[in-house]
Subunit: 241 residues, 2 copies
């Protein structure tokens, strides 16, 4: 009897925004794995820390902040083998995933390596996408709106064309791309349609009109939401943020 | 002291996929409101039914299945006024929302009417988008993939152009548009990249390759996910669904 690999979404950061199912699986877990930076605390572990049994086994997947693709693959290889040993020994393994396991998550690199060898279950979670809309108090999509989710690192020309084509746009992974993205949106005349959110639902969360954001730096967990659809009331005045 | 309007996401259907926060707010609610069909049960209410206090007040927002825009607005006007009376009397009102309140949800029509008059809090929920990816056991997006969410009722020409332009595509609200969408994807040579899910996480859920789906009808709660990105392993063979 092999164990089951669980990819468990934790939601955007507030421990109350994890699902009841995630809460149950984590509370009863005997083995957990999670991504961790080489210095400092694992965000995924911190969201679930209050639920971890004192004697459970932890498998941190330590990933340097700026790692090239090849060494990252070697780290996932090694972590997946450690997880595979536990599964082969009949233990279930709960992998803690920020947000949702399959929405721009690192869990997929473990899933890729193990899903054909072991039973696997995915527990979806609240994504940063809707957590940011909630923080801005602005609907993301209505009726037949097209929503496009764009990683901020994409080049300006591509972003411009895709922003022009959609009704609702989420720019993810803003981070160090903030000055470039803000200049692009200003040039497109879209600053007044853009809201900015950082660390949605986490301590020190901020949500404000992008036009009111001072400074040129943003944390990795930041997002810009733009609404261009027909529902004018979905663009609240600055004061309602 | 007025009450607070809570827009609470319930997730895709499995009561265990609601958040811990939704669970807490619904369990302690004195007044709840929810969308309901004119015949049959309210899906939103059914997801939360086990948590409702026996003596709480319920405000069903009864909406005929095929209603034109103007009468629908009148129904939201009336329901919002009933909710406003409770809020004015100092009661909190919890609006039960399938999925996430701001992701193609009807809650926004209540929010539009009341958010400037009363304190309002949005509790995000797991969307059908990631619940369907979990059901298919297929990642939705990796790295710098562009994700586009398309309502199925859009015309073929528009869908074709948008599907060609994105790496990951979710076709929402498939329902009666299934035969047309399947023909379009077949014509585009994309059938083998498409997965189909209906009623994700609900009783009688189904997840299978679109090419294996017989018949020309789909329930309203159905979705097609298409992956065109670079990660070939994100296209599992039929047998792994």
């Amino acid at each position: 009897m092999t164990g089951t690999l669980y990819g468990v979404g934790l939601g955007p950061g507030d421990p109350e925004l994890m699902t009841v199912k995630a809460h149950r699986l984590i509370s009863t877990a005997r083995v957990v794995a999670y991504p961790a930076p080489d210095t400092g605390e694992s965000l995924a572990r911190s969201i679930a820390a209050h639920l971890l049994a004192p004697d459970l086994r932890e498998i941190p997947m330590v990933m340097p902040m700026r790692v090239e693709r090849a060494p990252a693959q070697a780290i996932y290889d090694a972590a997946s083998e450690t997880i595979a040993e536990a599964l082969s020994a009949g233990e279930d393994v709960v992998v803690l995933c920020e947000g949702d396991p399959f929405f721009y998550g690192s869990f997929m690199y473990v899933f890729e390596r193990l899903s054909e060898r072991f039973p696997c279950e995915i527990v979806p979670g609240v994504t940063s996408l809707t957590a940011c809309a909630a923080a801005l108090k602005r609907p993301l999509t209505a009726r037949n709106d097209v929503l496009t989710v764009l990683p901020g690192p994409l080049p300006d020309d591509e972003l411009r064309a895709r922003i022009e084509a959609a009704q609702s746009i989420a720019l993810m992974k803003v981070g160090r791309h903030l000055p470039r993205l803000k200049a692009l949106l200003s040039d497109m005349g879209m600053l007044d349609r853009a809201g900015y959110v950082e660390r949605a639902s986490q301590p020190h969360a901020r949500a404000l009109p992008l036009a009111d954001l001072d400074g040129d730096s943003a944390p990795y967990f930041s997002m810009i939401l733009i609404y261009k659809g027909d529902e004018a009331w979905m663009l609240p005045p600055s004061s309602s943020f």
